[in-house]
């Protein structure tokens, strides 16, 4: 068994096939395109299906169709493409169709640029489109996790009949690292609700329209029940040096890696700092954050946006302890040195 040097984006395509994906629908957009490039190579080569659609609007509706037909299907995109797919996310959530969407975040708003940002946080974590729904959001911070999270995403999607987002960024997508591919292939099973174009499934209906208010109410209550179950069962996070920490960085994706390098050097100055990295952004690790808030003096939420996760953290801990916000925009990723200087200036001597 050996590791292969892969781009984060390439690792997604490998993880997908090994996780049982049979259908990939794509539309080009930087910095996510390598996922489609690799998929266009390895999906057909293994007898799976790849298609470049005419737009992201079509892509998400193709996912709706493929998932309804019982296939494990996916796409990958970035900010502008994500915006175009919002209506589809909402339909998929209501019809409870399992599929996987990878967002390799770029800077926005608008056309923005192709450098990393985490500005899609709120849109993706709250589901994106209209109505009351949530989707599972996994946040990888390495090429290995790009592979592993995609691999697992299809199981989660099938189990909870939900859309699963992989919320990544331009650096995690574009960088290369040694990756150990999974050693076992997974496959989806026949679903009793899907459309297989046969006698057994003939009476099945995939829809998101429920004209009767009472029924629409029940549909919503069932969705909410499912989300509570997801919140109970799926929370995942990683912690570094939090046991004795007085202060804790909270960061995901590329920002967590910058904080990880900075953390060691900040500790050398005598400041007891730790790192908490949510690997699931929905469900958000609320319980653990509340435990940590009781033990330490303050959180520093570092993110490549205007403080979108910091809002969530403050709400989660009901502002029990101070939450410092370190924010960067426009494709700027802070240097280790900048994070160290700022942290030492803010916390030194306190």
């Amino acid at each position: 068994m050996s590791k292969q040097l892969l781009k984060g984006n390439e690792a997604v395509a490998y993880g997908a096939i090994m996780g049982g994906a049979t259908h990939f629908f794509g539309y080009p957009i930087t910095p996510a395109s390598e996922i489609a490039h690799k998929a266009a190579e390895i999906f057909p080569a293994t007898g799976r299906f790849f298609m470049q659609a005419e737009s992201e609007v079509s892509v998400i509706n193709m996912l709706y169709g493929a998932a309804a037909a019982g296939a494990r299907s996916m796409t990958a995109s970035s900010g502008p493409g994500m915006s175009l797919m919002m209506e589809g996310f909402s339909y998929i959530a209501c019809a409870e169709l399992p599929c996987v969407v990878v967002d390799v975040q770029r800077a926005g708003p608008g056309l923005g640029n192709i450098w990393p940002e985490q500005g899609d946080y709120t849109t993706v974590v709250t589901g994106g489109g209209h109505g009351n729904y949530k989707c599972v959001v996994l946040a990888p911070n390495s090429c290995q996790e790009m592979c592993d999270f995609t691999y697992r995403a299809f199981e989660i999607a099938d189990k909870y009949r939900t859309l699963v987002f992989i919320l990544s960024d331009a650096y995690i997508g574009q960088m290369m690292e040694p990756v150990q591919l999974p050693t076992e292939m997974k496959h989806g099973e026949r679903k009793d609700w899907a459309l297989y174009a046969d006698k057994e499934s003939r009476n099945n209906l995939v829809t998101s329209i429920f004209m009767n208010q009472k029924i629409m109410n029940d549909v919503n209550l069932n969705l909410q029940k499912k989300y509570r179950k997801i919140e109970e069962e799926l929370v995942e996070y990683e912690e570094v040096d939090v046991e004795d920490a007085e202060y804790i960085f909270i960061a995901f994706g590329i920002t967590a890696r910058v904080c990880l390098t900075a953390l060691k050097k900040i500790r050398d100055t005598g400041i007891k700092i730790g790192l908490f990295r949510p690997q699931t952004l929905y469900p958000f690790p609320k319980k653990r954050l509340n435990e940590l808030a009781k033990k330490c003096k303050g959180f520093i939420v570092a993110e490549l946006n205007a403080g979108q996760m910091a809002d969530e953290v403050e709400l989660t801990i009901n502002c029990k302890i101070p939450v410092l916000r370190y924010n960067w925009f426009g494709g700027t990723v802070p240097s280790i040195e900048e994070v160290i200087e700022r942290t030492v200036a803010d916390l030194g001597g306190k």
């Binding site: 590791k3 040097l5 299906f49 169709g65 050693t183």
Partner: protein, 472 residues
């Protein structure tokens, strides 16, 4: 003699509808009921009920699934052809019907219908043109006629305001791929019989995997036209039919073209996939025992000097030796002509940020790279300079400078583009972080164009030769 029996492709009672399970939700005189009936009869006749999936649109026929005893899926506004495309590519033998109205197909959904038609998807589309939005209460459709009054054209549609009514059959007929395009009308019993024939033909084509068929059906909407049902049939003939000519636009169903639409590829088994991905590959990695200093490398030069590949090969060597490594490109417009660079980190520990702002190894393949990064190199670091094209010397005294004319050496071997390999090999020899033979091992696997493997292997020999003579 006409037999009045209910098709078995219809439900006996419409339980999904709620109250009123023996009648449809359509208004008196509406065309949908007739078209539904013709489709259900055709499904019966072709004996494909079990494998049929009906895609309902957004519009009055959003509830088509109340009636068709087939697989059913309700699609977002205008997107049925995209949904159907995906289902087609999942289930080869499914009979998939897109049932769409004029707002749905000719308004919001133009992109999806054009591209599904252009791909020649083996689908059947029934396009119901009644020149108005029904479900939302009688607004202008793309097919609304000049002068026709609707809720959003209260004084009648005009060219200046809204352009001309769109001919969908004509548009689809302008695309090469479809196999069958016909426009029919529900204006008279005779025309309804022709519609029946067209519907069956369009489905038959799909059963025979012949490709994309579209039937546009002119239908009355008495309620929103604000007419009595009989008056609406008359208006349809007198006003709609002259604008939208009822005719067969194309019928290539006798031509054998189905091979074009076969997309099934040979399925690789789990074992075959694992082999193909290299998961099962037995590989002996040269596990290094020695302690190494973390390498923060900036590999920089002109776009085209192979600095990205040089960096990838470096990270590949590290991977091969069981070390942790990251490679991050500086990508974007500056790659063309200007300075391109890659950040590479090699470490025995886990690596945090992959960005190298302050390197301890700078590889400067050109002058601008040295200008850009010399000051940022850590004290005690190493700078490797391509002295073939960089004439200046390093001004700092707290770093190790290595000058090597890699472009000249590469030219001597016979390919100037191999300078990056000579530079990388020299770095390995100077730093002793990794074995030069590891590069010999990974290089053949990393170079896509295999005809360049041999000459690049010679670059490594050249670097070793130069190192022994001048640098060791």
């Amino acid at each position: 003699m006409i037999k009045h029996t209910k098709s078995k492709s219809f439900y006996d009672t419409f339980e999904r509808k709620g109250p009123g399970q023996k009648v449809t939700h359509y208004c008196p005189g509406c065309g949908h009921g007739t078209i539904h009936k013709l489709i259900a009869q055709a499904l019966d006749e072709l004996d494909v009920q079990d494998r049929t999936i009906v895609c309902s649109p957004v519009g009055c026929s959003v509830f088509a699934y109340y009636y068709f005893d087939t697989g059913n899926i309700q699609c977002s506004h205008g997107r049925a052809p995209a949904v159907a495309t995906a289902m087609r590519r999942v289930h080869d033998d499914a009979i998939i019907i897109c049932y769409q109205g004029d707002g749905d197909l000719a308004g919001i959904g133009t992109t999806e219908i054009i591209h599904a038609a252009n791909r020649g998807e083996n689908l059947t589309v029934f396009f119901v043109n009644n020149a108005i939005y029904g479900m939302t209460g009688g607004q202008m459709a793309p097919t609304t006629l000049f002068g026709q009054k609707t809720m959003t054209t209260p004084t009648g549609r005009t060219m200046a305001q809204d352009g001309a009514p769109i001919g969908v059959a004509e548009i689809i007929n302008a695309i090469k791929s479809p196999v069958y395009v016909e426009r029919t009308s529900l204006g008279t019993p005779g025309k309804i019989q022709k519609t029946r024939k067209a519907i069956k033909q369009a489905l038959q084509n799909q059963v025979e995997k012949k490709g994309f068929s579209l039937v546009e059906i002119l239908a009355p909407c008495p309620i929103n036209w604000k007419m009595e049902p009989l008056q609406a049939r008359k208006w349809l003939q007198e006003h709609l039919e002259p604008v939208f000519p009822v005719k067969q636009f194309r019928d290539n169903s006798d031509e054998l073209i189905q091979a074009q639409f076969s997309t099934k590829l040979p399925w690789k088994s789990d074992e075959e996939v694992l082999d193909y991905f290299g998961v099962n590959k037995e590989q002996k990695q040269v596990k290094q025992e020695k302690e190494i200093e973390e390498q923060l490398v900036k590999f920089s030069g002109f776009g085209g000097q192979g600095v990205m590949l040089g960096g990838v090969l470096m990270a590949n060597c590290a991977t091969e030796e069981g070390l942790n490594a990251t490679w991050l490109p500086s990508y974007g417009p500056e790659m063309r002509g200007g300075t391109a660079n890659a950040s590479i980190i090699i470490s025995q520990d886990s690596i945090g940020s992959p960005v190298v702002d302050f390197p301890n190894v700078l590889i400067a393949m050109n002058g601008p790279s040295l200008d850009a990064f010399e000051e940022k190199v850590h004290a005690g670091g190493t700078i490797l300079v391509n002295s073939s094209i960089v004439s200046q010397k390093i001004s700092r005294s707290d770093v190790t400078a290595v000058y090597i004319p890699v472009s000249d050496l590469a030219s001597e071997v016979g390919m100037i583009a191999g300078a990056n390999i000579i530079m990388l090999a020299t770095y390995l020899l100077v730093s002793k972080i990794m074995d030069i033979n590891t590069l010999r091992k990974v290089l053949p696997e990393s170079i896509k164009k295999k005809q360049f493997v041999d000459i690049n292997m010679k670059m490594i020999d050249k670097a070793e030769e130069y190192f022994k003579e001048h640098l060791s």
